[in-house]
Every structure is written in C-alpha cells, then in structure tokens.
Symmetry: D2
Subunit: 450 residues, 4 copies
C-alpha cells in the first residue's frame, strides 16, 4: 500500500499519490510529474486515475501530462462547464485503487465545482479526506473568486461543505489539503502539515464560530488577485501536456543582446542583487518565485535568468509550474562572467538597521516605504512614519513614492523590499535603500537615544 504526500516547495502545494496492488492514483498533480511516475514505477504500480479537487488558479495542473504518459483517466469538477478534457465528478462516485475505495464529496465554496475525495482504509472505514482548497490546516479556502457579489453566497456553501460534509466523517479522519503554510491560496495556513478533522474543529480559527453567519462574516472578504490567476484558470481548462525543456546558457554577450527584448529576472538574494546587477533586472529571490513571479512577470515576453544557485532548473521549474514557458535562457557563468567581460552593472544600496537609526535621526527628510501587506503589518507591528504600499500594489501606486528623496524600503526581512526596489529602479527611481533584516531586524534593535 502506498500513500505519499508530495510537497512542492515555494508553491506550498501538496499533491498525493495513493496506491495498492499494481494500481495508483494521484490527487492534484503539479506540472512536473516525474516524481509521480517514478514513485509509481518504484512500487510497481500503474497510475490509473488523476483526481482534481478543483480548477486551480495558482498553478498549472499536471493531469494531461500524466495522462499522456500513462493513459490515466482524469476526474475533475462537474461545475465548470467549459473543460476540454477529462471526466466530470459527481458526489457519490466511487473508484477502487487496489483494495482502496475512494469516494467523491461535493464540497463547493472555494469554487462552485470543488470536490473532496474520501479515502477508505482497506478495512472499510473513512481514513483520509483530500479537501483541496476547501479546508486547510488552520484556515479555509478563499471564497472571492466569483466577485464581491457572490462572496457571501460562496462562504455559505463553504460552511456547509465543511460542517456538513467533512466534519461528519469523524474527528479522527486525516485531512489532506492542497496547500500548506506559505501558500498564496490562504493567508494563515498553519505550519502543521499533518492535521485531522478533530484538530481543525478545535483549533482552526476560522471554524471557531457560533453559526454560519459568523463564519460568513469572517470569511467573505475580497483578497488579492494576482494577474497570473486568470492565466492559470484559462490554461487549466485544458492544461498543457508539455514538459519542461532544456535550459539555454547564454554567454554575457548573447545575454546582453537578447536582453534588449526580454525581461531580466535575477534570483539571487537581496545583498548580492543590491551590490551589482544587470541594468533593468527585476529581483525575485529563488524561493520567492512561486509567490511573486505571477505578480510581476509577463507571459508574452522572453524572460532571461540570472541564477547563481548552481541549479537554474529549480527556478525554471518554479516558473514552469506557473505556466511561464517563456524562460529563454540563463546567464552562463553568473554575474562573475558578466563583469569579466566588462559589462556594466547597477547597484542598489543596502543598509543595516543600525544605519537607519542614524538616518531617521538626521534632519534630511527621507521616505520610509513599507511594502508588507496589511495583515502582516497588523500582526508584526508597523514602523512609525512609514508609507505603506503592499508590494503587489506597487506597480499601480508607484506615484505615491517621491522621486526626490532617499527612499528606505522595509519588508519583513529584506527580500521583498529588494524586489520592490528593483521595480522602482526599473521605473526611474534612483535614491533607493533596502533595509537589511527588515522589520524583524528593526524590532531586534534599539536605536540609541541621543
């Protein structure tokens, strides 16, 4: 018998492989599917089914890739009518994978068509429920995808799905959602990767409500909607079966030439990027790609990578999962080779929190920009005098940032603030300073009193 959770770091996405005898099934596969195929082969199993909990909007689903390789049957929502592939699932449908029974529950709320899948123990009792984006550890799925008008309606459906479909399975049933802590699909997913109906019932803040109304009040809010979600929804109507290609390594001269029509994406951490980067480059550190690439990267223009991780395929995979098949090359030899061919580079100043103290003291007026989201600011504390623009809103609210003052940019650590700085730099701002350690560093330090 096989039951494995596959974690996709960054996306904070969970998919699952279950199997018994020579049969296996995958729930919510990502696009780079080798991990599932290898696992099945290692256990002498054929992937017979792919189950989707819902039409995902935060990554390209790998169902068609698996189908192309194995002939697996795909099952997905019955409510999005425009699917071009696979089979619609209705509540109560059942499948067998070896001796394991799987049963579909209709659990709308996050989307109209959301399904959960109950896996039964070989002895016949409900064992695990794959809840997709309906119920997470410590949070529930967002309900705002159909607009403000329908948010309350969807929240009500989600309440029913959780309280009337999932809870009755029993407190001991294990809950396997599609996302873990760090996902863009819900703000407050807890870090416990393994959870149960009982734990969620007792500890999930969103579920500690008197009644349905209170739940709806808490949950029916409009959240951020990254531009790439729309692309994902479109592509997931009939997701691509293509796999990731070969990375092209460009020497500095080729890179420079091709960069003229491309976006240069630099995946190094904030300090390296700050010290020297290719003029015009956008900074998103490697592990930030799953969360931020979809906000700032184009689908219709080549992307060129500066990646010094030693394994650019990681960044390329992150982007591929978001449907970015337009990564056209990677700088061969990294920034060292760039400089060794005498190419120009730019820098963005990085400052320690200690230095910021002295600046704030100084008479010279400077502008403090805090790019953290509202909730984070509420939770972690704000910085007096800071102007708050969440980084995802920066492109549209850039005009609030003065061009004639030194700009000191804060986030929680320094990573997002360098992304913000690179966006401003690309748009003409010059006097930019990223605060190393961000609010966390700031909070750990006391500015000396004069």
């Amino acid at each position: 018998m096989l039951f494995e959770r596959i974690r996709s770091k960054g996306l904070a996405h969970f998919s699952y492989v279950i199997g018994d005898k020579n049969q296996a099934a995958v729930i919510d596969p990502r696009r780079d599917t080798e991990v599932y195929l290898k696992l099945a082969e290692k256990h002498g199993m054929n992937i017979e089914y792919v189950f989707e909990t819902h039409r995902n909007e935060d990554y390209i689903i790998g169902s068609n890739v698996i189908k192309e390789k194995t002939g697996a049957k795909i099952y997905h929502s019955d409510k999005e009518l425009d699917y071009d592939y696979g089979n619609a699932v209705e509540e109560g449908m059942e499948w067998m994978v070896g001796r394991l029974k799987i049963e579909a529950l209709h659990t709308p709320g996050h989307t109209e068509g959301s399904k959960s899948y109950v896996l039964y123990d070989p002895d016949g009792s409900p064992w695990i429920v794959f809840t997709g984006d309906a119920l997470f550890a410590g949070d529930v799925g967002r309900v705002d995808f159909y607009g403000e008008d329908r948010a309350e309606d969807m929240a009500g459906k989600l309440y029913d799905s959780i309280f009337e479909k999932i809870f009755p399975l029993g407190d001991g049933v294990i809950v396997c959602p599609s996302h873990g802590s760090g996902s863009v699909c819900a703000g407050n997913i807890a870090e416990r990767e393994w959870t149960t109906v009982g734990l969620e019932k007792r500890h999930n803040p969103k579920l500690q409500v008197e009644d349905k109304e209170e739940f709806i009040d808490n949950v029916a809010e409009m959240l951020e909607y990254p531009p790439y979600f729309e692309e994902m929804e479109k592509q997931n109507l009939n997701p691509p079966s293509s796999e990731i290609g070969t990375i092209e390594f460009l020497d500095p001269l080729e890179f420079k030439e091709r960069a003229e029509d491309a976006l240069v994406l630099d995946t190094r951490k904030e300090v390296g990027f700050g010290a020297a980067h290719i003029p015009g480059a956008l900074s998103i550190w490697e592990e930030g790609l799953p969360s931020f690439a979809g906000w700032f990267l184009p689908y219709d223009r080549p992307i060129l990578l500066v990646d010094e991780s030693g394994d650019p395929s990681k960044a390329v995979t992150y982007l591929h999962r978001l449907g970015y098949d337009n990564v056209e090359g990677c700088l061969s030899g990294g920034m060292l080779s760039w400089h060794m061919t005498g190419q120009e580079s730019q820098s963005i100043d990085t400052v320690s929190v200690q230095k910021v103290c002295s600046i704030l003291d100084a008479e010279r007026p400077s502008f403090l920009l805090d790019v953290r989201p509202e909730e984070e600011i509420e939770e972690e504390g704000n910085i007096e005098g800071a102007h708050e623009i969440h980084i995802t809103k920066l492109p549209e609210r850039m005009d609030e940032v003065p061009e004639d003052k030194p700009i000191y940019i804060f986030c929680g650590s320094g990573l997002r603030s360098m992304t913000a700085a690179s966006i401003l730099k690309r748009n003409g701002w010059e006097d930019l300073h990223v605060v190393l350690g961000g609010l966390s560093g700031w909070s750990s330090t006391t500015c000396p009193v004069d």
Copy 2:
C-alpha cells in the same frame, strides 16, 4: 519546521525526526543513523535530543550512535534501572525543539517504563503523540514480556495508558507508533501508516471493549518470543555506538574455506535457492531477514552471505539492526561464480500446486508440512491432512517430521517453506519439496477430480 517519519522496511519500524529553527530531535532511532543526520543537516538543524519510547527488544536502538556523532542528549525509560547511558524520563517532563514543545507521558503496559511523547503544535495544542509500542494502528503492544504471571497486570496498565492517557488528548490527535504492518511486535497492525486517536478509538479491534476486563482478557496472552529478543534487551542497556563496517567479498575458494566454521546464509528467493545452493546453506529471503534472522541466526559464529540482489549492504544492514555484527563476508560473483569454479551445490525440489494435486491423489504416502503460525492458519484456512508446525518452532519440533517420506512443505507463498526446507536439509532430511505459491496458490486452484 520538520516532521518526518523514517520507515525501516522489513523491521516495519517507524522512527521520527522533528525539528524547528536549528534544533531537531529523533524518536526511537535505528542503528544505521545516517538518514537522521543527513535529514538534520539538509534542514540546517542540530540533533539535540533522542527520545526512546521504551527499551526495545526487536532491534538495536541507535541512540548512542547519534550521541557520539552529535552530542545529543538521550532520554529513555525511568523504570529499567540498569541502563548504562542516557537520562531517565518522568511523566510531565518537557523539552523545547525550536518553538515545538514535547511532553512525556508515562504509558506503561508493553513495558513498565514505556513512555509516550506528545508533540504540541507551535500554536500550543496537542498535535501528535508518539506512542511507541503502546498503541499501533489497529493493534496494541504485547504485554507478555514479564511472563505469564504479570501479563494481566501489564494489560491493565496498558488499558489505563491508552484509555486514560492517550485518549484524553483528543480524537483529532495524530498517533505515531514505533511499528507498522508486518512488525514482529504485534500480529495485526493495520496497513494505514497514518492514524489518529479517533480512528483507533473507533476501529482498532483491541479497543472495541466494554471495559478494562474485556480488554485484559483479549490482550493478556503469551506470544512467541524469538531468541534474539534477549540479546536485544541486553545490548539495549547500553546500545553500541559502532557503525556498519565494510563488506568483504570472498571468491568461491575463500568462501568455501571460511564456510567451514561459519553459517552460510542465502538471501535469494525460494526458486533460485531451491534450484541450487551451497551445501548447508540456510535460506532466508532478503525481505524476510528482519522477521526470521533473529530466530535462526547465531551471534557467536561467523555468518557468510550469498546475496544476488546487487546490493549486499541491504542484507548486512538488516542484520546489523538486529545486532548481528558477525557477517564476515559475501560470495563474490554469486552462485554463478560458485558454479564456474566447479564447486558442488545442492538443490531442494520446488513443485507447483498443480503437481501437488496429483501427488495427493497418488497412493504413495507423503507428509504435508504447514509451517504457518496458528493465527494465519485460522484466518486463511488450513490444508486437510497437513501437519502444522510454525516455522519458528521447527528447530525444537523437528522430530515430528518423518525422515522416510516425501515432505511437501507449505506456507503462504513459498518463501518461509523454503526457509523451513533448508533447516530440515541442514539436519539430514532429503526428500523435501517446497510448494510454490503456498496456500495462496493452492486456494486459487482446484485439484481436478478424477
């Protein structure tokens, strides 16, 4: 945050690594500890603690190996007074691993000193309980280690531990035991690797009782006690910190010479062993080593391996976990090289179930030997006319097997029956026949009616 289950195949042993920030802890490590050290290093964590749930009798615990490499503190039972290492645990003791709290519960029953460890979610609620050999998926720990006299007493303690210490944690709490399906430590562990208090409460057959008395009645039985358990208990008073050594590959001539004072252990499957093996060899197929080596292998005599898996280190590791540090070499080139140097070999006949039909029909009296344990016979069905000796009892009940008749040996598949056949062969029996497919094959076939 890190939480990983480490499965040791064969032993059906589960150990666990938990970690947060730069700290980690291991629960019930096995002796080959690289997996824990690598995992910790990969996550940038130091192993600070080793927690033992009880003094194990079925494998050598790796606590001292980890301590030697990392300086970790070892915590173990406070009731076995003769420990020579580590620190005693009392109920209520607490430790922090990063932001994770771990709390000790005293849960005697399997042993007097058995402890469980409750892991709290960073948000402070009980999340996971490591139950050791107290509570498994679908079964409970055995209570017969202190002899028949005390079995009921221990069963009562186990009842209290489960019903009064573990159940109150809440149905949603995840149960992480030390063993999974296939372990020698309990006969009926369910295949669900992941389980919860709620699932066990509702589905564990041993826990569906009216009261404590019924529980004691069900549980207080004397089970088989493999000879190596005693060795494990002794060694685990201060477990070795030595690691597995280099395997020596012996060419056929060296092997033959050294085999004179050694036991030859052949890890191939039943058909290959049957067709040709080194005279005097004992047959235990590779995956059978964790269950059967401890019954039949000596600690005080060299063991030489015939292993054609391509990776003899697997068999050596299986034996090392059971404290067999006396594997002195492996046949270089396998049986092929043995035969190519003109060495003699023996064979044991293997027969299909179809052929057995005709034999049973024949007038010639033959002896059917069923080497399966009683419970398996009860569950899967018996063979009419078969003489039943569980393979583990064969050495002491060998005289029940006639020497003047053809012996047809059955087990569930053919693997254990070849082990039995090799034991009889080593003791002088000649007319031996192993039934391929065993009872399973037998049940799938109908002997033709004349």
Copy 3:
C-alpha cells in the same frame, strides 16, 4: 572543460561528451539521452553538435532525440545517401566547441562512410581521436557488412584509415572508440577502456602485420549477422526521436491473458528460471539482453517481461536501445505472485558438473550440446563428444538435436545454455538439463575415476 565517456553497459557502447565554455558536443549518443542532457546542464553547457562516426547497426542512435530537445546540429556520414536527417560530413570539416577544435577524418572500412573525429587540445595539438568502429582497443572494426565480395576491399580501406589516417596523429594521441570489451561489433576488444595510438600500434593483434595484404587476410572474414542489425540500419536512416515510455505492471491474470499473443521474456538468472518459469517463456538474463535480444526477440509481436531485478526499467532500456518499443508490460510481483495465484509453471533441470560426471559414466546414452561460438571453443577448450551449435544458430539448426535423449547443455557459465534450453523447450523438447558453471565449472573439476 568537459570530457566524459558514457558507458552503456551490456551494449559495451561508449559515447562521449566534450564541452568548453557554454558549448558541448556528443559523439555517438545512445537513445536514452538524459545522461547527456543532465551532464551538459550540470556544467552550464548547451549541446550544439551531435557527431556520428557511422551508421550504427547495433543500436538506435540518439541523435534525433537530442536534436528535438536542444536543437543541436547532427553530423553523420556522407556516403550513405539515403539519410533522412542531419548533415553530411566531409574530411577536413572543422567545428569549434568553446576553445576546442574538432576535425573530421574520413576513415572508411567498417562502413563506406565511417568518420573519425580528432579533438585538439586548447593549445592546438591533436589530443584525442574518436574512432567509432574503425579502431578498438585490441581489435578493429568488422568489414563484412557489404557482403563477402567486398570484404577484402573494405579491409583494405580500413588498413588505409588506420595506418594512414589515425597512426600519423602520433603515438601519444588517445583513442576513443565506440565500443569496449563485450561488444557484438568485434570479437576481441581488450578490456583496457583507455588506450592510445601507441598502445594499439604495439599491442593490437590485428595491427601486428607485415603489410596491407596480411592485414586484409586477417580481417576480411564474414562474421555473424544478427537479424536485428537490419532493423537498426533501417531505423538509423532517420532514427526515432521518441523516448522510453511508462512500464505497465500486469497482475498475473492480466499477464496470462495478454501472454497469449505475446512473447514472454524472463530476465532472471539461469537457476531461478530453471526452477520455475511461465510456460513458453524465453530466458535471457538481464545482462545478456544487449547481446542476445536482437537474435531472438521479434519486433512485430508484444513482449511481456518477467523481471525480478527490482528495476525493470533497466531491461526495458536495454531493449529500447535495440529499437524494441514493443515491451507491453511486466509481471507485477514477479513469479511469487504468479505462483500465489495458482498459475502453472514449468521447470528446466539444472545440474552440477559433478552430477554430469556420473551421467557421462552411465550407460544411458545422452546428448551433450555445446552452444558456445567456435572461437570460444577454440580458446577455452572443447568437451569431448559434445555436439556444437552456437546458440545464435540454434533456431535454424534445431533439428540436429535429438528429441528422444536427455540433452545436457553447456556454455561458458550456464547463462547462455539456459537461453538455449528455453528455446528448445518452446519448440517441444522436454528432457533438458542445463549444466551449472558450464565449461568453466567443468574445467575446474575432475570427474572421479572409478
């Protein structure tokens, strides 16, 4: 700078990757090309060129697979006029891979279009020559592909290629051929994987000749021509770009049903196969597939695998390299599951050399069949009274084997003789006995004198 030899075990095939800066080239790639792509990616290089030394007849070349993945340019012979892909190479053509110069030599003999490629050291001197099937360590390429009429002509060309093109490069130049010891492309390739012009000049037995005539006399012989060579030649006119697919695991009942229209190929070693196998199965041990599959396996009928190596993808890959894309499934659970579902199996007797002694002594007339090739018999010695049929000729000379006597089959070890036995068994022979250890075992033993 990158220079790696890629060994394809079994095929005894060598391919090479060279690279410098961000450019790489592959010489004579095999069909499963991931190894080249990963190597290039790891070094930050793009594969720009594929160089073929000649149209291969012993495996499917991977040029088109690489081209599809990387856009690499393919270069091959200019003499086979019917190529449907790539570019023709003429002597003297040069390419640069980073700072490395590669130059083509026309070195016909093995085929009309055979090319060698000289790799220059960055400092400009000839460093390595990739000789394809022109010159091996200890042997030269066969010259009989155009028939007996042209063999002398081709041998003469090969002489000129070696003595007038390759020798003048200098004794110190390293020779990198397409095959190593064990290849079907030449009978006596030496085991030294690394060799040089100087070593070959001095030690290669085929090159220790007085003059061209002596060379031609030695070399112009007709060798065995396995049936699959024709298929390879045809496919290599425009080799497939398809990659290996997913393996389907069939449970015993499915397997049995589909075996009716398929060939069952069993890759276990001789003893296991002998003891019990699926009726009608052909025995070729895993490592024997590259050499013997092409003689005995059909391209136009499904192949089903019995493989207990733990990794059937190895056997599938071996077959895929020979163009067998008709492997349709693998027995799930191996022979154990076959027997456990009560399926019938057959056996072929295996006997030790000791037992053969007594048989030869006996009055009962038996038939000794030696399936080794002539050269091996000459070199290693023959068995008195044995009837010699090289295994590759067995299908067409089967009628020389009596059906009414016990047949004792010999090869060098027992592996090939089991293949022969399985072929005879499939054709109705019954009284078959494979001699374990083969001639090697036989030679190491003395039959006792009465």
Copy 4:
C-alpha cells in the same frame, strides 16, 4: 575490471581506483574516502592496497582512513625515514590486483622518495603510469621543497625520473598524475585531464629542452610555500584516520558569541560579501578554499562559517582535506537571519570597471592594488600605475598599502580581490573598493577618452 579517476575539485587533485576480480587498490586517496569505499563495494571488490606516490604537502592523505575501514595495506615512499605507518616501497616491487600487475618505479625529484606506479594491461604490456607529482599534463613537479641549495640537484633527479624512467615506457602509455589544472602544486598544468607519455614528450613546455642542464635551468626555481604545507607534511607522517564530523548550526546569537574567539570565514562570492558581511569576516569564496584557505586560516583557533551555498558540508570538506578540523559551526539561516536579528554588518564597496575609469581620471589620488601573482600579471597584462602585491604576500607586506587613500583592488575577476579587501579591512583599512570583473573586465572595456 575497474579503472576510475576520482577528481577532487578545488584541490585539482586526482586519485585513482583500480580493480579486478574482487580486489581493488587506491592511488593517493584523499581524506574523505567514502567515494572509494562505495565504488569498491558497488563492484564487489575489497580494497587491498593503498599506494602513495609521495608524501603530500597540499592535502591530508586518506590512507589511514581506508586502512581503518578495510584493513588495506599502505605503501609509501622509502626515503622519508620518519613515517609512522605503512610500508616502504622500493623500485621494482610488484603487486597483483586480480589479473593486473602494478610495479613501482623510483622517480625522485619532487621529493626524494617520490614513486611512480606502472599498471600493466591484463595482456602484460605497460598501460598506465601513475606519476604523482613528477609529471603532469603540461608541467612537472616543483623541486624546491628542500630549499634553494638543493633545487638544482632535485631538478636533475626529476629530469632522470622523467626522461629515463617514464619516457622509456613508451609514447602510448597513459599518464595519470596526482593533479590537474588549477592545482597549487604546479603553476601551469594543462587542462587536458587525460594525457600520455607521447603527448607530454611532444607538448609539455618544460620537456622541450636540449639537455638536462636546460631542464634544470627552467625548473629549479623557488616557488611560493603556503604556511599550511608544513602542517600537511607533519600530519602526513602518520595521517589521521578520523573522518569529518557533524556540522553544528548556530543561530545568530550563538554565532555572535562564539565568534569572539573565532575566525569568521565567509564563503559567498565577492558581491554578496561586499554588500554585507559580519564585522571581521574573512572572505574566501567556496571554490577558492582549496587554494587560499591554507594561506590565511589558522589551525589553532575555531573557525565559524557563513555559507549560503545550501550545502555547507562542501566547504567543510574542502577544509577538512587541508587538515582543518577546527570548523566549529555554521551560521544558521545565513546572513538573512543575521540581519533579521538586528545584528550589525559591514560592507566593502564593489565598483564596476566603468566606474574605475572615471576615478582614474579624477584628480583625487587613489591607490591601485593588484593582488595577482607575477606570472599572471606577465601573461595577462598589468595595469598602469598599479601597486603589485600577490595576495599571498599581503599579510606581510600590508604596510605598503596607504591608509589615507581610497584603495582600488584588482585581481583577475574580483574574487581574490575581495579576499584581499577582507584582510585589509580586518587590519583597519576602511576606504576599500573591489573592482568587479577584475583585469578581465578591465581588458574588455575601453575607458572613454574625454
């Protein structure tokens, strides 16, 4: 048969494993020996011998580690009289590894006791010669270890060793030295990893001489002698058998506390280090450790690592090979966590070559420091007006660097100049600027003419 070269990157060290049947031998093993043990085990071989070509001064030899694990016999020089382990080798001694003969040649010059080992092909001809530090691809061993007085004498011996012992083996014999391009043991080792007697005879610049005298004149020069060589020589009299330990991950506060008595070594590249580093840290980029650690790191003081490669064990291994067993910890979470706890950091300015142009133009007097070695300056060109101090001499010639001017530091790329800058910074200099791209970048750019 087995013959593998093991490359130790960074050290540019080559060791070799040869094997046949179930026997293997290792030539010049490094200290982290798992690679040899795994290779032998994978091939079913026992390591019987370790052969040392000479007492190494640039790394700790792994002979005793292998011996402890396998019982292998160690063979080393007979001329260094103070060895505390192993057996002395005399010219003409022979060993068999399976069918492979190995023969010792006495080839002094680099050291008095240097040996080469000739490996014979199974057919009996000289095939490969392991030359240690006597003969490299494109260079020869240095002869200055016994001081200026004896350099000519040793050069003469080396001449005899190469011309009278190695050359007579024949042009076709393959030369396998102990080092490749990039080693500190010779300045001009060619990039061709595979070479032969013939190639060296014809192309090695040091061997293109009229006579012995000319050779001596060319070769008998005093080279740099890093301080750690002495430590290596001492330790290699009886090299340690200890292996690398577990890495301790220190959170920023622990790190800071322990850094007070330790040297902080930062292995990031120049730009990241420049932007922000822990006050007092020494910069040596990861791949620079094998070459530069031995110049600047102490053996008698704890070393703490800042390593963001994702795998600090690589840096630790590099240091361990040089005998640095004093790496006591690694910063958990990297510089990000450092800043997030509000710790102070320092920076060193990095400037593009374009910016340097304008500076040179400016009136403000600045100081150009070129830290490249003399030969590199000669070969690649100098910078007008630059003050030249090879980085290895910087500690003793620091007083040549003015403290009151901006210092612009050049090397070939920017890496070594950041090491130099960090040394100066640790010693009080403040106005430091590292030129990105170094001379290479400088040469690719033209300063605009006013």
